[in-house]
Subunit: 327 residues, 2 copies
């Protein structure tokens, strides 16, 4: 498939072309960046929802029900599931096949699991590119799912406009621990498995944490606690999903009414710039080192005690980097 | 404290000086790299043990008992606990205080929790520097604890010589999922909470996974499954800890006997070079962009649709990077 053909097909929501570009992005192909440039103008208009929460919180099940709710409105939905643990587990690939089976025949739903690919990583950058590709395909909503641990996941969740933090009752100390950070990341706190013991006191303690941390600014969004019951996949019903959906829509309306959405767009682009930057710098510098035999020499001199990694990096950087500032 | 004084004190195992340098490393102070250069020659002689496993697997409790076992031999022990989730939780700071209380008055034990510090991150690099500092203090053993998810944690666990993967019975599908990756990362698989139902079948399935993946090379280390029972901290006994300790010592003996330890040292240095590299490149490039107003301009042009992040990065990189190869 030629680049231009790939661009055309993706803009017509061709699933195979999109999947192929996503793989190119993961493989850090040079061509991928060129194609991304071409589709970029057709992105930036989707609703981006981040869903973060620990394993076992019922995230996937909730997302399944959220997809269903958006499909009722005939919205096209993309899901990017970020799973950095996959260098250990291969979980991402497996995940693609076994999760969200319900929607495997629905052309209005496109799911992609992202796993780490060894040292050079760039998982957050690749995930952020995949979100752009899903937008170019014309998805109205893109859901970004993360476990909420690790830098890559923090980086990627900052791309989202409306961020859901999924908790369950009985997390006890964990909830204490995250209180401090709640205001920073979550627009909506979903207390899933709200039929379990301790749900009410959990809701109360979350709400008092929210109000304790509340800034007294006008026009500020006050995070809300939304109880849901979606404990296992493939269940027909999910209590509270309509309420969650309404709250998401209200947060989106808030962003647009207050023009806060402009800041959100700018922050997303700043974040993306940082991610692409890091990735490209590494690629360029590592490419310059590769195949020169110089790296092996450096390592040997360090092992022999004639050098140290800090001085080696100083030396290499002075070769590659100009230190002047941009005008 | 002057740099030279700090170096001298750290080499004499002064805890305050070491803690201060660790904070400087986390804060990415310029001076920190200079001091690291000075202490580097006094590092590289400790036994490095990686302990990775999901939350709830009893990792901390196991490590507590391992510390106790090494203390019996009068070995000095350092622990670096890597917790990238702390931008959400503040867990790392809290952790410092509440974990391993048993050893808070023992001068032969030094514990440091590492949390992520916002976008510029560099958690793996900082953790790797902290391991070097612990070596410079004269710790015989340094234990690196991670949750085993996320790129930072994968990066740092590759520093270890002997890697323990902690699992529990009843992880079911998780165990299936990690089978593929087990051979790559774990020298010893610790099945903790081995008194729980399903422990025996779990051990069997792990062992068959090991033998299924086994390369037929001579002199290859065959990962072993070691059952333990260490479910809660502060317990007096931990069944299987002596067996685990013996297996660790046997793996270390194997590394030294086969000279495999040389490869392990070289890989560690290669990994460190990569981490320091990434970190320093980012610092230099970002410093060049900072305060020029240029960044804001770029973001605005992207929002207006006149540019895209991929082209912006190309432009900035061509300003900063020389693309020639090292001679």
């Amino acid at each position: 498939m030629k680049p231009q053909e790939m661009v055309d097909r993706i803009l017509k929501a061709d699933r195979r072309a999109a999947a192929r570009l996503m793989t190119m992005v993961e493989d850090q192909s040079e061509l991928a960046s060129e194609i991304m440039k071409d589709i970029f103008a057709c992105t930036g208009r989707s609703m981006l929802i981040g869903v973060t929460g620990a394993g076992g919180s019922g995230k996937s099940s909730l997302i399944e029900h959220l997809i269903g709710r958006f499909r009722k409105d005939d919205k096209k939905v993309g899901v990017v599931a970020v799973d950095p643990s996959s260098p250990f587990s291969g979980g991402a690939l497996l995940g693609d096949r076994i999760r969200f089976q319900k929607y495997s025949l629905d052309d209005g739903v496109f799911i992609r699991s992202m796993g780490s690919r060894g040292y050079m990583g760039g998982l957050a950058r690749a995930s952020s590119d995949v979100v752009r590709i899903m937008e170019a395909m014309g998805n109205d909503v893109v859901i970004i799912e993360t476990l909420g641990a690790g830098q890559d996941e923090v980086d990627i969740i900052h791309i989202a406009q409306t961020c859901l933090l999924v908790l369950t009752p009985g997390m006890g100390d964990d909830i204490q621990a995250i209180k401090a950070g709640i205001m920073e990341i979550a627009d909506l706190i979903v207390l899933n498995k709200a039929d379990l013991e301790g749900a009410n006191s959990c809701i109360q303690s979350l709400e008092s944490a929210i109000h304790y941390n509340l800034k007294k600014d006008k026009d500020v969004w006050v995070p809300r606690v939304v109880p849901t019951i979606a404990s296992s996949m493939q269940t027909a019903e999910c209590e509270g999903i309509e309420d969650l959906y309404q709250n998401i829509m209200e947060h989106q309306a808030f962003l647009h009414k207050t023009r806060r959405i402009d800041t959100v767009h700018a922050k997303r682009i700043e974040q993306e710039l940082g991610l692409i930057f890091k990735d490209e710098v590494e690629k360029t510098v590592f490419a310059g080192l590769k195949g020169t035999g110089k790296k092996r020499e450096y390592i040997e001199s360090i092992i022999k005690g004639n050098n140290n990694p800090y001085s080696v990096v100083d030396e290499v950087l002075s070769t590659f980097l100009r230190t002047e500032k941009l005008e």
